[in-house]
Amino acid sequence: MTGEQLFLQQLLNGLTIGAVYALIALGYTMVYGIIQLVNFAHGEIFMIGAYFGLSLFACFAAQAGAAISIGVLALGLIVAAAGSALLGFCIDRSAYRPLRKAPKLSALITAIGVSFVLQNTVMLIYGAQDRYVPSLAAAGSMDWMGVHWTAMQGLIFAVSLFLMIGLQWVVYRTPLGRSMRAVAQDPLAAQLMGISVDRVIAITFLIGSGLAGVGGVLFGVYYSTINFHDGYLTGLKAFTAAVLGGIGNIPGAMVGGLLLGLLEGLGAGYLSSQWKNVIAFGVLVLVLLIRPRGLLGERVGDRA
């Protein structure tokens, strides 16, 4: 493999995982934009999304380890999105909503507690070992420009692009999106204008968690394993992506996710994969130092 090919291959691999980061980062950024809460449990929702997919695939796979068809995968994505969305909604309703007026610290600690509860519930149900996720049947791959492209990578790009465009449309072109932006700007004023703030927050959790669930299934099928620990690290990276793009900013989360994936892919290719995780955290620290509002953010990031 020539140098150029290695570069392009790592670029592609990085962008693929970056697309998944972007899907998760959207949930972080939307929730933070509206209620200024770092939803620590968001990474777990992503992980549980993968397990929702896994459970569904298990119903359809003829025998353990058999590949799944594209139809089953699509069904898995929908089920995971719905399940995760519902879960996110319930978490907001039961854990965060009572603390809306409490100090930020209480909500953050609660979020960490929720994250522990979700992680350990999954561990008790599915076990602590890595679970095998069936791969896509008849998934072709091709070599183009000296780079190995798999169908799964294409699918990840297609699905995440579709969802991001869809979200962009909802947020900037519909009445619902307008009320979401209004609540993010000034909840009190929004309430006075007749917007039900609690309803908008609930919908934000529904959408953000649904996107994370889709990301979870894509992640699981792409790497073919899932573990109850995966949510924590991936969630942190997605949060990094959200900060990188400018937290509270939806296009920022998309750009940040892709960029972080890219950096990680190149870092893993050229440095060593052991240091891969340091890259994400290093980026996080650097961004907060040099440009705390992120790449596309317009607000200064010290409201707390």
């Binding site: 100090p103 507690g113 340091v278 705390p292």
Partner: protein, 313 residues
């Protein structure tokens, strides 16, 4: 009133010091020594989070730095434990200040995440710097402390006394510190950073001081930990350790010295009592955090507002 509030300390530590003379088995003594270790860590974090109001999620990193500094000094340079102890405390304190320098500008949630990031970076670096830290296998054969010809050995009892002594010292310093000029400045800064700055307080310096004190306490705890175990491995300093210590501080009540100790004792002994429910341990722990924040956000001995601190004077 003034007398009553301060009287708890000598008596408590006297009782704690004579506890090992009661017929406890060695496992129970070991649990007690661990509780004392966690109490020490909780006191240190309490300075950062409780006194100065800096939400730190990477405190285990300083604990790790202390433990590795002690192991390194002992194994490579042959220093005895009693020299390693203050040196590792100084190293961890300095590391806390150095790592604090760049992130001190960011606040609140952001600070929590950056410190979390730094905590993870420290752990990954320690895992990957094989020549110095032994990589994932860690360092082994760290010498136990000696007093004259008496070797602390593997029995937990002498460590328990050592930790209790350090705990008493730290608790005393913390309660003095809280009522000092610096402590009051921290309290003011925690309530309203902008106002404190406008009144001429050097908030950057105050924050770095809190980090330095907290880091040094963690370094001290880390070196006792290393000497007690005889080995250090990176997985003793997971994110979960940082969260555990933070939960102890919050359970006890942010800013309360008593609270941090009581919180640490409760949270380090409960899992031992729940041994038979081992798999549910973290689940119960998470639920506890959620419920606690709901019913008593200020913790057991919550003295979080400036008014309470001033009244304690």
């Amino acid at each position: 009133m003034k007398k009553q509030r301060r009287d708890w300390m000598p008596w408590t530590f006297l009782i704690l010091a004579v506890l090992p003379f009661f017929p406890f088995n060695s496992y129970q003594i070991d649990v007690m020594a661990n509780a004392a270790l966690y109490a020490l860590l909780a006191l240190g974090l309490n300075v950062i989070v409780g006194f100065a109001g800096l939400l730190h999620l990477g405190y285990a990193a300083f604990f790790a730095i202390g433990a590795y500094a002690c192991a390194f000094l002992n194994l490579n340079l042959g220093y005895p434990f009693w020299i390693c102890l203050p040196v590792s405390a100084a190293v961890a304190g300095a590391a806390a200040v150095l790592l604090g320098l760049p992130v001190i500008r960011v606040r609140g949630d952001y600070l929590a995440i950056v410190t979390l990031g730094f905590g993870e970076i420290v752990r990954i670096v320690v895992t990957n710097l094989e020549p110095w830290t032994g990589g994932p296998n860690g360092l082994m054969g760290i010498g136990h402390p000696m007093i004259g010809r008496f070797n602390f050995g593997v029995d937990s009892r002498p460590y328990y006394w050592l930790l209790t002594a350090l705990l008493a010292l730290t608790a005393w310093i913390c309660s003095r510190l809280r009522r000092s000029r610096i402590g009051l400045a921290w309290a003011a800064m925690k309530e309203d950073e902008l106002a404190a700055g406008c009144l001429g307080m050097d908030t950057t310096r105050l924050k770095l001081m809190a980090l330095g004190v907290g880091g040094a306490v963690a370094g001290m705890a880390g070196s006792v930990f290393a000497a007690k175990q005889g080995t250090v491995t990176p997985d003793s300093f997971d994110f979960i350790v940082s969260v555990m210590i933070l939960s102890m501080v919050i359970l006890g009540g942010l800013g309360s010295v008593r609270g941090a100790i009581v919180g640490a004792v409760i949270l380090s002994i409960t899992p031992e009592l729940l041994r038979e429910f081992a798999v549910y341990r973290m689940l119960i722990f998470g639920l506890l955090m959620i419920v606690l924040m709901r019913v008593r956000p200020q913790g057991l001995f919550g003295a979080s507002s400036l008014k309470r601190v001033l009244h304690a004077r």
